[in-house]
């Protein structure tokens, strides 16, 4: 109990004093996860939508594969990306290991299946409603896809937030490919792991509280955007 109280105390002290170390870690966490999220959105939303709209042989298999990838253990993804980016690996020449870019790549691989799978579900449902009318108006599947994506934007935002949640909270992948290097690749989750392993539980908890507050803030912003969006549409 004292640990918990000390944790809250430490958390607020760090936050209110705009502790430089904390800000650096939070800033990096956001940069890495938001970049990965941006890329995952750009790739995942159209991918999910395309799977919903286009009929082709093997679509069922593709959907099952995509849904399975949603459950990829982060540490496994981290390991695979490490093996790829290691100097002894196929992409070693890129020199990306132990950099934030490697972390972005790993998180991108983790969250794109989630974004794509949820998008697929949302778009598939919408397509059932819209298909006949859109075809009647002369839209091909390709032409209809961007229309569907835009019309489903509120539900798709939820898919995107789900992706963000997974990215900001995972540690298994980024700790392996990033190396948890101080000031370079240390993010909130890896810092928490580090402090826990050092036995500094109050600090670890404090960082955890900060992470939760951050997540809450992002979700709140999204909520406001959604509400505004509803008024306009």
């Amino acid at each position: 109990m004292t640990d918990l109280l000390e944790a809250f105390e430490t958390a607020f002290r760090l936050l209110l004093s705009f502790d430089a170390g904390l800000l650096e870690i939070v800033g990096l966490s956001l940069r890495v996860s938001l970049t990965a999220l941006g890329l995952a959105t750009v790739v995942g939303l159209p991918l999910g939508g395309a799977l919903a709209v286009f009929r082709f042989r093997g679509r069922g298999v593709a959907v099952v594969a995509l849904n399975t990838m949603m459950g990829l253990p982060p540490v496994v993804v981290g390991l695979l990306v490490y093996l790829a980016l290691s100097r002894s690996g196929p992409l070693g020449g890129w020199g990306l290991l132990f950099t934030p870019s490697a972390m972005v790549i790993a998180q991108f691989l983790l969250i794109t299946p989630i974004v794509a799978s949820l998008a697929r579900q949302v778009i598939a449902d919408l397509w059932v409603e819209y298909e006949e009318q859109l075809r009647s108006l002369g839209a091909t599947s390709s032409r209809a896809l961007p229309t569907l994506l835009w019309d489903a934007r509120q539900s798709l935002l939820t898919a995107v937030l789900a992706g963000f949640g997974r990215a900001i909270a995972e540690v298994g992948a980024v700790i392996i490919v990033g190396g948890n290097i101080a000031h370079v690749t240390r993010v909130m989750t890896t810092a928490i792991a580090l402090e826990t392993s050092k036995g500094d539980l109050p600090l670890a908890l404090a960082l955890g509280i900060v992470l939760l507050l951050l997540s809450m803030a992002i979700n709140a912003i999204a909520s406001v955007l959604t509400a505004r969006g509803e008024q306009l549409a």
């Binding site: 409603e129 006949e132 859109l134 009647s136 108006l137 002369g138 032409r143 229309t147 306009l232 549409a233």
Partner: protein, 241 residues
């Protein structure tokens, strides 16, 4: 501008449609020249909606052909439009919904605005033009769907139960609009359960029963002296399927 060939008349020959080993429609032969307002009648499950969708090209037949006068499939599609029993509208303004359809057809931006204003005015929706389409009432939404179809200036307009989900006042407005659209030169073919609407609007009736055309006659003939037992039962309200 070279006047493009009319896509009418439409000839359906030997049309069938199967699902799960069951033949739900056909064999069916029908010719529509668009001169008269055609109403397709029949009990539930007779295949009315199927017939419209096959004719409009939304579904492919299991056998037989759907032959328009114009051979180019793109021109065929661009000269038709369809309105469904429930308006399917995008999450944007009423105006934007109409403009979307026009953009799909490749109509230039400036003309899109003009045509949209025109049909919105004709359907009495101009005041609601900037309202979110989904926020409109059911009647207004269906009028918008009609406006959208009309903006495309189709040669033929298919309507599948256009007044099914509407109250009588809204249904009447739709009816009036359909007549206006015919006046402006678009051929009309619609299905309905509303016999009152059918009697008022139809000039020609196609009576379907269990996927086959049982009767195809002038409206006056059909309503006053139906030739088949099933048609008579249907008109009396005794034929449920």
């Amino acid at each position: 501008m070279r006047a493009s060939r009319s896509i009418l008349p439409l000839r359906l020959s030997g049309l069938t449609w199967e699902r799960g080993g069951e033949q739900l429609l056909g064999p069916l032969d029908l010719e529509l020249d668009g001169e008269n307002r055609v109403v397709v009648l029949g009990p539930n499950g007779a295949g009315k909606s199927l017939l419209l969708r096959l004719a409009h090209g939304l579904i492919a037949p299991s056998s037989g052909s759907v032959a328009w006068e114009e051979p180019d499939p793109r021109r065929q599609r661009s000269r038709q439009a369809m309105v469904f029993d429930r308006a399917v509208l995008l999450r944007r303004s009423a105006r934007a919904n109409v403009e979307y359809a026009l953009a799909l057809r490749g109509v230039a931006a400036v003309e899109r605005g003009a045509r949209t204003d025109e049909v919105l005015e004709q359907t009495g929706l101009l005041d609601l033009a900037n309202r979110a389409a989904r926020a409109l009432s059911a009647g207004e939404q269906q009028r918008l769907a009609l406006a959208r179809a009309w903006a495309l200036r189709p040669e033929i307009l298919f309507l599948d139960e256009p007044t099914a989900s509407l109250d009588p006042a809204a249904a009447r407005r739709i009816e009036q609009l359909i007549l206006q659209i015919r006046e402006a030169g678009t051929a009309i073919i619609l299905t309905t359960h509303d016999l009152g609407l059918a009697r008022r609007i139809a000039e020609e009736v196609v009576f379907l029963y269990r996927g086959r055309v049982l009767e195809h006659a002038a409206a006056s003939v059909f309503f006053e002296a139906p030739a088949t037992r099933e048609a008579r039962a249907f008109l009396q309200g005794d034929l449920t399927w």
